[in-house]
């Protein structure tokens, strides 16, 4: 009887072991591939050009079917008194900051999703509802999302917003890089409307060159840093300005991709399911030995 039990034990252990290893290959394949096309697009924001007209806010709302005031109401500059953040009703907002070089020329900065090259939201999302598209856009899929808001915890720029007041089907809202418009060959709504060409849409690689060139030609006008070139591994949206944008305007971030450490740990714990399966085998072994010892004590 005892022998029979032992044989069954081994059979079952082997069965479970193989079942788990079978699972592992599948889950490795299921991991989303990070498509980073050489031709991925981006936007260069030259904050020294921006006049703070906020037409981009209007265009964005109109393009995304969000209710908005008429365009001529947007020249009210009193909104700049308080810093605003992108919200479920405004996927992009413009904030105004003092200019240390010239008090009469404040700096206006448009903010929205940065469309990271290695997005934390894509890595974190429990159901893989976020995608880094080939054209650079980071988009969200309403069919998958469960509303856990882990993307908001993960995002280094604190961009995704959530419809807290909806009881049914609340959505995560953030800039989608006007993916529907760009697919149809149109410019993103904000770039399209900008009257002073503060926003330049183009291949990210070209934009980095353009930004460097502008800084090189006007070293007095610009602070020598392209925000977004290397921050968290690079972002599709790039910013240049008359001051260090990582001081107060954007968070100061390192060059390593945001999901790096947690993915390394995650893959370490689950590398081909070897650690969990070994732990299972070890515990099984201990269980078997202690059981035998106990039985022999009883006999």
């Amino acid at each position: 009887m005892e022998k029979q039990n032992r044989r069954e034990f081994f059979k079952l252990s082997a069965l479970i072991g193989s079942a788990i290893t079978g699972l592992s290959t599948k889950s490795v394949k299921a991991a989303p591939k990070n498509i980073l096309s050489e031709d991925r697009m981006g936007v260069l924001v030259d904050t020294t050009v921006c006049v703070g007209c906020r037409n981009c806010e209007w265009a964005c709302k109109t393009a995304h079917g969000i209710e908005t005031q008429p365009l001529d109401k947007y020249n009210d500059r009193s909104v700049f008194e308080n810093m605003r953040r992108p919200d479920v009703n405004a996927l992009t907002v413009v904030n105004e900051y003092p200019n240390p070089n010239n008090a009469l020329l404040p700096m206006d900065v448009k903010v929205q999703c940065m469309h990271c090259d290695h997005p934390a939201c894509v890595s974190a999302c429990i159901v893989g509802a976020f995608t880094k598209n080939e054209n650079g856009a980071v988009t969200w899929d309403t069919k998958k999302c469960i509303g856990c808001r882990y993307c908001m915890v993960a995002c280094p720029f604190q961009v995704p917003s959530f419809e807290y007041d909806k009881a049914l089907n609340p959505e995560i809202k953030k800039c989608d890089f006007c993916i529907e418009r760009t697919k149809a060959g149109k410019l993103p709504a904000c770039v399209d409307i900008c009257p002073v060409e503060a926003l330049t849409y183009g291949s990210r690689n070209d934009l980095v060159k353009i930004a460097r060139e502008r800084i090189r030609r006007n070293p007095d006008k610009y602070f020598n840093h392209i925000y977004g070139e290397n921050e968290v591994g690079g972002t599709s949206w790039l910013y240049i300005g008359n001051q260090d944008l990582s001081k107060g305007v954007f968070p100061k971030l390192g060059d390593k991709p945001a999901p790096g450490v947690s993915e390394a740990i995650q893959h370490g714990i689950f590398s081909y399911f070897i650690p969990p399966v070994s732990l299972y085998a070890l515990l099984g072994g201990i269980m078997w030995i202690t059981k035998n010892r106990k039985n022999s004590e009883e006999e």
Binding site: V153, P156, Q266
Partner: protein, 414 residues
């Protein structure tokens, strides 16, 4: 005279003043829960785009999972290492874990915006997500816990199936099914017990990985790459204190003599585990040189100090004392401190440490959030009471003692 202990349903008066208080708290929580379902998360909580996670994740989920660790630690001790000496406490610990995880699952469901999509992770996988790993492990572990509890159900109902009226024809097939289930389970149970321990170590640690991706948004006192290890160690170290804590409360509530022999020896296992946790926690602090943050007086430094001093160092010293291990009162105090320490650690990791880059004021839970949290805890305690009144979970003095019972061990007379 020698007497023996055996798990049996408690036979006491169910309704006491305490039970009515718990019912009230539970009803209050249910009210706010209903409001959340009807009007959305924003109507009940203080959460916003800057603070997306609050105490429903920090306390109900993270602390809930940690405090249910008694289930897998006692299973490892009692079943994997075959320390049969501890069998009396395996069942109550299992029940606590089972109820704990059930309420963790409930809490997650109400915290996510689309509770009706809670099943999505089962078919929509994202291997890079720590949350996905936690979710899947918790779902499987919850199933394993229910399977581990099944023998208690079969034990209760074998030879006790008396359906009446039109269902009476079911009596025989049900009885056969129960016996079949019982036989099948007793042969395969080891598979589930080991699986339970493995799954627990996996998701207890992955729960620590969760906040790592928040990077600089998390205060350096808590943000460390060894968070998964710290979470696992703290979960293991709170396992036995939690069992002691509830065993002493249950003994008091049901008028039983505390099983001090078992509880003291359980308590003597705590210091080495808690010591290792403390060593890693302090070691990490010195390697990353985060102690500099303790020199300034801030919420973070105060909370960290309270957590480590009252939640780890003081109880560690207490558990090392023989006098504490022998006294039910001091054992209770020491265990409560460890539980408090882990609870505070989870709150600190998920709420205190979280500092978004653009903040418009800090987060403090709303009355509704607190109501739902304490409401869930009350429901858990009430369900525990209902189950131990109806199923053989807690070991009591066995009147019909027969030698060679499966779980009998020497115990003290009532």
């Amino acid at each position: 005279m020698v007497s023996y202990m055996k798990p049996a349903p408690i036979t006491k008066k169910f309704f006491t003043p305490g039970v009515f208080v718990l019912l009230l708290i539970a009803l209050n929580g249910l009210g706010f829960l209903l409001a959340r379902l009807l009007f959305g998360i924003g109507a009940v909580t203080h959460l916003n785009n800057q603070y997306p996670w609050g105490i429903w994740i920090g306390v109900d989920v993270a602390a809930g999972v940690a405090l249910a660790a008694g289930g897998f630690t006692t299973a490892a001790l009692g079943h994997v290492m075959h320390r049969t000496h501890y069998h009396d406490i395996v069942r109550p610990a299992l029940l606590t874990a089972l109820l704990g995880y059930t309420f963790v699952a409930l809490s997650v469901s109400i915290d996510i915006g689309r509770w009706y999509y809670i099943w999505h992770p089962l078919i929509m996988w994202n291997g890079t997500s720590a949350l996905f790993e936690v979710g899947i492990c918790v779902m499987i572990y919850l199933t394993v816990l229910y399977i581990e509890f099944l023998p208690i159900v079969t034990e209760r109902f074998i030879n006790h199936v008396y359906l009446k009226g039109i269902f009476s024809f079911l009596n025989k097939p049900l009885e056969k099914l129960l016996i079949l289930l019982d036989k099948g389970l007793s042969k395969t149970m080891f598979v589930f017990i080991i699986a339970g321990v493995v799954l627990s170590t996996l998701h207890q640690s992955s729960l620590g990985t969760l906040m790592i991706i928040a990077g600089p948004k998390m205060h350096p006192l808590w943000q460390t790459p060894i968070l998964p290890l710290l979470f696992l160690l703290s979960a293991i170290s709170v396992g036995f204190p939690m069992v002691i804590f509830e065993s002493l409360i249950a003994a008091r509530s049901f008028g039983l003599k505390p099983e001090m022999e078992i509880l003291s020896s359980l308590g003597s296992i705590v210091p080495p585990i808690l010591g290792v946790y403390l060593a890693f926690k302090i070691g990490d602090m010195f390697i990353r040189e985060t102690f500099v943050y303790l020199y300034t007086f801030s919420t973070a430094s105060v909370m960290f100090t309270i957590e480590v001093l009252f939640g780890v160092i003081i109880p560690l010293r207490m558990f090392l004392s023989k006098a504490v291990l022998r006294s039910p009162l001091w054992l209770f105090v020491a265990s409560s401190l460890v539980i408090f320490g882990v609870l505070l650690n989870r709150i600190n990791n998920f709420v205190t440490a979280y500092t978004p880059p653009y903040s418009f004021g800090s987060y403090f839970p709303s009355f509704g959030e607190i109501s739902v949290t304490v409401g869930f805890i009350s429901m858990l305690v009430l369900l525990y009471r209902v189950i131990v009144f109806n199923f053989p979970v807690i070991s009591v003095f066995d009147r019909h003692y027969t030698p060679k019972t499966k779980y009998a061990i020497r115990g003290s007379e009532q």
